[in-house]
């Protein structure tokens, strides 16, 4: 799949934002007043910024409200609802903390559930796609959730829990890659089922339908070199998990913590880039790719 910067920015940032909101909703860190205000602004910048970034990806952002209509069947629509609900509930919860120094605990819990639910719905948009076997696996929501929780905990300054969650995210990431690499082969879809023509291995895509590119080849049939991907995987893993853990294990310093956050953010973005770039859409089979 084409790794569109807007979608990568959206999923990475909003994942962090909603992750942070999740922890805030649960009362971590237990902040009030200006400090709470700072945390909430950060969380909202990330979450809303991410959502806004995602609209850049739309052909008709001015019609974005229509996306709320089909919640009964569409994960994208559900994401719209959960994110809106999470943002509203957490706003009320946050207002309590900031202006009244009061934690409306049940509201916080609800907000936490909605925040993490938003991440889940986002992940389900990808997970549901049978057409992209690498995404169509249980580990995809786990991956998104583990990133949100780890990143959120890091932002929430939970220096004790964060290394564990970062480690977990790293392991999930490794597993996701591992299973993802064979997902297309295991999916049962190949050029033979795609065309109905003969046994696999005996059929070969000859000429593409047009000599130039088209929307599908640009959007869905992005191909990344294997060597390149390997390198990026190492970088992503180090940045998102290994380096932040090491930084957190050092004696605590705000600069180190900030570095850990930045490293994780960069790693998560890199991972997300790979999430798209490595995803093989089955339509690529028709074009002789993969």
């Amino acid at each position: 799949m084409h790794p569109a910067p807007s979608v990568i920015a959206f999923t990475t940032l909003s994942s962090l934002g909603f992750g942070l909101l999740f922890w805030l909703g649960l009362g971590f860190p237990p902040v009030t007043g200006w400090v709470a205000f700072t945390f909430f602004v950060l969380a909202y910048l990330l979450a809303v910024g991410g959502l806004l970034a995602s609209t850049f990806h739309l052909g008709h952002p001015e019609r974005a409200l229509k996306a709320f209509i089909q919640w009964r069947s569409s994960w994208l629509s559900r994401e719209a609802w959960t994110s809106l609900a999470a943002l509203l509930v957490m706003a009320a919860f946050g207002a309590g903390l900031v202006f009244a120094a009061t934690a409306l605990v049940p509201l916080g819990w609800l907000g936490a559930v909605l925040s993490i639910g938003t991440v889940l719905t986002t992940s389900m948009i990808y997970t549901q796609l049978r057409t992209v076997p690498r995404w169509h696996q249980l580990l995809t929501p786990v991956l998104f959730l583990s990133f949100a929780l780890a990143g959120g905990s890091l932002l929430a300054g939970m220096v004790h829990l964060a290394p564990w969650l970062l480690a977990a995210a790293g392991i999930v990431q490794l597993a996701h890659w591992y299973l993802g690499d064979s997902a297309l082969a295991r999916s049962g879809t190949d050029l033979a089922t795609a065309t109905g023509l003969g046994a696999p291995g005996r059929i070969r895509a000859f000429e593409p339908p047009h000599t130039g590119p088209n929307y599908l080849t640009r959007e869905l049939v992005f191909v990344i070199g294997r060597k390149h991907a390997r390198k990026l995987r190492v970088i992503a893993l180090v940045l998102l998990s290994v380096l932040p853990i090491l930084l957190l294990l050092l004696p605590f310093h705000h600069v180190l913590a900030a570095l850990a956050v930045l490293s994780h953010l960069a790693g998560a973005a890199c991972s997300r880039w790979l999430f798209f770039a490595e995803a093989e859409h089955v339509v690529g089979l028709y074009y002789g790719k993969r």
């Binding site: 047009h210 000599t211 130039g212």
Partner: protein, 934 residues
């Protein structure tokens, strides 16, 4: 609860008006319905009533709308202001343009009309353009047929009085086995596809003989991936097997062919190899009843295929003896040819067996009584449901004439021509070679030529030679080099004019032919010839006038450009005098008419010729008082008469048959009828046309000829023998010595096979082109929709050669021939003859042409194979550079090409890269969302 759905208007208005005319996105000439909204073209679809396409339309036809709005369209007449080839022009008025042309041409006509060479390309008005050239008085006229498929046309007409091309068709409704030789697309684009669809739906089978398995050959049930240039050998081997097994139609051969005609068989006789004739000149056969030599058309005659006759001590034997002697010889046994053809001997036998089985075990009978030319009544029509079609794959080789002949002989041996299930002629064919005109080249300053330029020679006396024996025509057509060049040799015009051989010309007038690019061999050399100057700094070819509708590569090389309209904006006439749209069951002709008005200063070229003709004072184009005879081409179409009662259009003439006076509203009648006119062949005249009295009478009635002219199929072509005799030293007109051997060997009256071109260890791989179905030569690339399908052309390389050269898709190779080299990208193809590479024809473009961006893939990755082909063959040690053409017809031997591949590092762009030409019309827009309605 059913979900709520939007309300849809499922009956939107399709258009304000439909105008029915004829497509010209290629030469197939399908009927189209042009839907207009507010006077603009909104949608084009096929005309269901039209005889050619019956409603279907190909990709090109459907993309016509993008041709009309193409940014490459010329806007006004152009006068060259920069050096030739630069593309620097100034737009001028029509008055100025026509004055310039008149100023150049008038003095030529009055002093030496042959100094004008007028050649037309993809033209469909040859009967008109040739008439114009004849009136001008120059012998130098032809159209593109010479480099196209003259082998096919000539072999067909000399052998059976009609050819494949678009002049005949398989009996799609009855055939059970269809063999297709060397066809990628053909002129009959839609009809062939419809036919293949039809026979597949019936479960009949298709055999495709072609080194490349795409398109028709991809859907063929059997693919014979033959070695290029060896079809003749393969066909003669089929003939060998079938004759040996007696799987031939003896009755048909005896009645309808010259198989029983008596040949002088005495090698010592000066008439050796000529027919025995009676006083009236009629060939004689031995009647099995009387045992006496009898004129072939005598009522009741039962010709013998084996009886011989001696007269004045000279042995005569039937043609069929000579055939048996030649084709039963072991040199044609499958085992002897298999390796050269690249087809296992067993497969050759199996194919022969399948042909025999279908032809004879599955013969069909139609209950249609008919009467033959000898007056004999037949109560049935017996058919051999095996049909054949072939085109340039066998035609565009230097052994193409004989290969095409071989194929026709095979068809005839099976009795599968003009019989149900076999091959059928489309009116005005059949028409034997001797009923066609002969070539004329008699010039006289200020006067018309002494007759039509092109025709069918019967012997040396008909050649277009001057008194001193030198060629009368600039293209050297109808000379000893290629005596039967019935379509001229357009591919030799520029190089001969440049060399001043046989003489110098002054003005080269070209129409609708991209001669500085894809239709010339040696493209880079041709561009140089067009720009070469003499010692005075004058161009060696002094003047070039060109008519095109678009900013093609050739435009840049003209001194004066006459911009044409598009096909939707002009009158055209697809005439029975020319290449009509007939079907086997009907005579038909058609028109084009301006369904929209041009939005710029362009004029239909034929109308311009009428105007120019009048300005030059040509008799056919001026009234007594010297004023213009025809207001425009539409006027000409209605009022010109070729013979009394016969004109460009046959429809709605006074007799209702095709003859008579044309009504004043003839064009409107065509428009009202959907753009065409049609006259059905009566049922009892539908088959056996050359010998069918019913058909012959109908043909006379319709105006094809003035008296019935039944004839025999010529298995043995006597005119060829007449040239051989001359080469053997007989007769007045003698060939130059260096050509004697070639004529003796290759102008054999019975088909034979010889190697096409020069086999060479240095260049071991065969290289071909194919037409893409969705592109027409060079002119599809300006079309926004079509160029997305074929924006570049890789060289397709068989798996074996990919491995041998360690190539992967997208790698580049240097391809060299004896003449030149190109560097191009490759793509692997498995379904391909293991020793053949190929590419799509004419996708490669010159930078700056066609209003395309200079970085267009057509120019940076696309390429022409033409750079590797030369109009002359390399010197062979005899001091001669032989023409790269068929020695019989002069057909350009595009497919003789042999090459060598070498892997190279990817260059910046495909090579050779020529500097860009300046676009006379600017560049196209960045986006297109073409909707004319609301």
């Amino acid at each position: 609860m059913p979900p709520k759905q939007p309300q849809l208007d499922t009956s939107p208005r399709v258009s304000d008006e439909i105008r029915r005319t004829t497509c010209y996105m290629c030469a197939c000439r399908c009927g189209i319905n042009v839907h207009l909204k507010s006077g603009k073209v909104a949608y084009i679809e096929g005309n269901r009533d039209h005889p050619v396409n019956k409603g279907v339309l190909c990709a090109k036809g459907s993309a016509g709308i993008m041709q009309v709005n193409a940014p490459s369209r010329l806007r006004a007449p152009l006068k060259r202001v920069g050096p030739r080839g630069s593309g620097a022009f100034e737009e001028i008025s029509w008055d100025e343009a026509l004055e310039i042309a008149t100023g150049w041409l008038k003095p030529l006509r009055e002093s030496a009309p042959e100094k004008l060479a007028f050649f037309t390309g993809r033209d469909q008005s040859q009967s008109f353009t040739s008439f114009w050239a004849q009136e001008f008085g120059t012998p130098n006229y032809a159209a593109h047929g010479g480099f196209c498929s003259v082998n096919m046309a000539t072999a067909g007409i000399y052998t059976m009085g009609g050819a494949f091309w678009e002049f005949g068709q398989p009996d799609w409704d009855h055939t059970k086995l269809f063999l297709l030789f060397g066809v990628a697309e053909d002129h009959d684009s839609n009809p062939i596809k419809m036919g293949i669809g039809k026979i597949k739906a019936r479960g009949a089978r298709v055999i495709g003989v072609n080194p490349v398995r795409t398109g028709y050959n991809a859907v063929a049930d059997e693919w014979v991936g033959i070695t290029p240039g060896t079809d003749g050998l393969f066909i003669l081997s089929l003939i060998h097997v079938l004759m040996k097994a007696g799987k031939i139609d003896l009755d048909y051969l005896a009645r309808y062919t010259n198989a029983p005609v008596l040949l002088n068989s005495d090698r010592a006789s000066p008439d050796y190899g000529l027919f025995l004739r009676d006083e009236a000149g009629k060939p004689l056969v031995i009647d099995r009843v009387t045992g006496q030599p009898t004129a072939f058309d005598t009522p009741g005659v039962r010709p013998s295929l084996s009886a011989t006759w001696e007269r004045y001590g000279i042995a005569h034997r039937p043609v069929f003896h000579a055939m048996a002697e030649r084709y039963l010889a072991p040199e044609y046994a499958p085992e002897a040819v298999a390796e050269r053809c690249g087809i296992p001997a067993g497969r050759i036998r199996a194919i022969a067996a399948e042909i025999a089985r279908v032809a004879f075990d599955e013969a069909i009978e139609l209950d249609r009584p008919w009467t033959d030319f000898r007056g004999e009544r037949h109560d049935k029509m017996v058919g051999r449901p095996v049909s054949f079609h072939a085109m340039r794959g066998i035609s565009a080789h230097s052994n193409g004439f004989q290969t095409c002949r071989a194929l026709h002989v095979l068809q005839i041996l099976l009795g599968a021509v003009e019989t149900p299930g076999g091959f059928r002629f489309k009116p005005p064919y059949p028409k034997p070679a001797h009923a066609h005109p002969k070539p004329h080249c008699g010039t006289q300053p200020g006067h018309p030529l002494n007759g039509p330029h092109l025709g069918f020679v019967q012997g040396p006396e008909d050649l277009a030679l001057k008194d001193d024996g030198s060629p009368a025509r600039i293209d050297k057509a109808f000379t000893w080099e290629n005596p039967m060049s019935a379509h001229g040799l357009m591919h030799m015009v520029i190089s001969n004019a440049h060399a001043g051989d046989p003489y110098r010309i002054d003005s080269l007038f070209l129409y609708m032919a991209n001669m500085s690019w894809n239709s010339s061999m040696n493209t880079s050399g041709t561009m140089k010839m067009l720009t070469d100057t003499d010692e005075n700094g004058d161009y060696v070819i002094p003047r070039i006038i060109y008519s095109d509708a678009y900013a093609s590569e050739m435009v840049a090389y003209a001194d004066l450009v006459l911009p044409d309209t598009t096909y939707l904006e002009r009158h055209d006439c697809i005439s029975l005098l020319d290449r009509p749209i007939c079907e086997a069951d009907a005579a038909a002709d058609a028109i084009r008419w301006p369904v929209i008005e041009p939005d710029r200063d362009v004029r239909g070229f034929q109308s311009v010729l009428c105007d120019l003709g009048a300005r030059l004072g040509l008799k056919g184009f001026t009234k007594e008082d010297g004023s213009a005879k025809f207001a425009d081409y539409a006027d000409y179409i209605v009022h010109h008469q070729r013979r009394p009662g016969i004109g460009p259009l046959a429809g709605w003439r006074s007799t209702g048959t095709g003859r008579g006076d044309a009504p004043e509203d003839q064009i409107q009648r065509y428009i009202d009828n959907g753009g065409f006119w049609l006259r059905h062949v009566p049922e009892e005249a539908a088959y056996f046309k050359p010998w069918n009295a019913g058909y012959q009478d109908w043909a006379v009635e319709t105006g094809f000829y003035d008296a019935p002219q039944p004839y025999l199929f010529q298995l043995y072509v006597e005119p060829l023998r007449r040239f051989q005799r001359a080469a053997e030293g007989h007769g007045e007109r003698q060939p130059p010595d260096h050509l004697r051997a070639q004529i003796r060997e290759k102008l054999d009256p019975l088909p034979l096979w010889y190697e096409d071109g020069t086999a060479s260890d240095a260049y071991p791989v065969r290289a071909l082109t194919q037409r893409p179905m969705a592109m027409y030569h060079s002119w599809g690339s300006q079309n926004a929709w079509l160029r997305q399908l074929h924006g570049r052309n890789p060289l397709y390389v068989p798996t074996r050669l990919m491995r041998e050269h360690a190539l992967a898709d997208g790698d580049w190779v240097r391809v060299s021939s004896a003449h030149g080299e190109i560097t191009v990208p490759v793509m692997e193809m498995a379904a391909l003859n293991p020793n053949t590479v190929w590419t799509w024809n004419a996708i490669g473009k010159r930078k700056g042409a066609w209003a395309l961006d200079e970085g267009a893939p057509e120019a940076t990755e696309g390429f022409l194979l033409n750079h590797l082909i030369h109009e002359l063959l390399p010197e062979k040690g005899d001091g001669q550079r032989w023409s790269n053409s068929d020695p019989v017809t002069g057909q350009a031997a595009w497919f003789d090409l042999r090459v060598r591949l070498e892997k190279v590092a990817a260059p910046v762009e495909s090579q050779p890269a020529h500097p860009p030409i300046t676009s006379p019309v600017g560049k196209g827009p960045r986006t297109l969302a073409w909707k004319v309605g609301k």
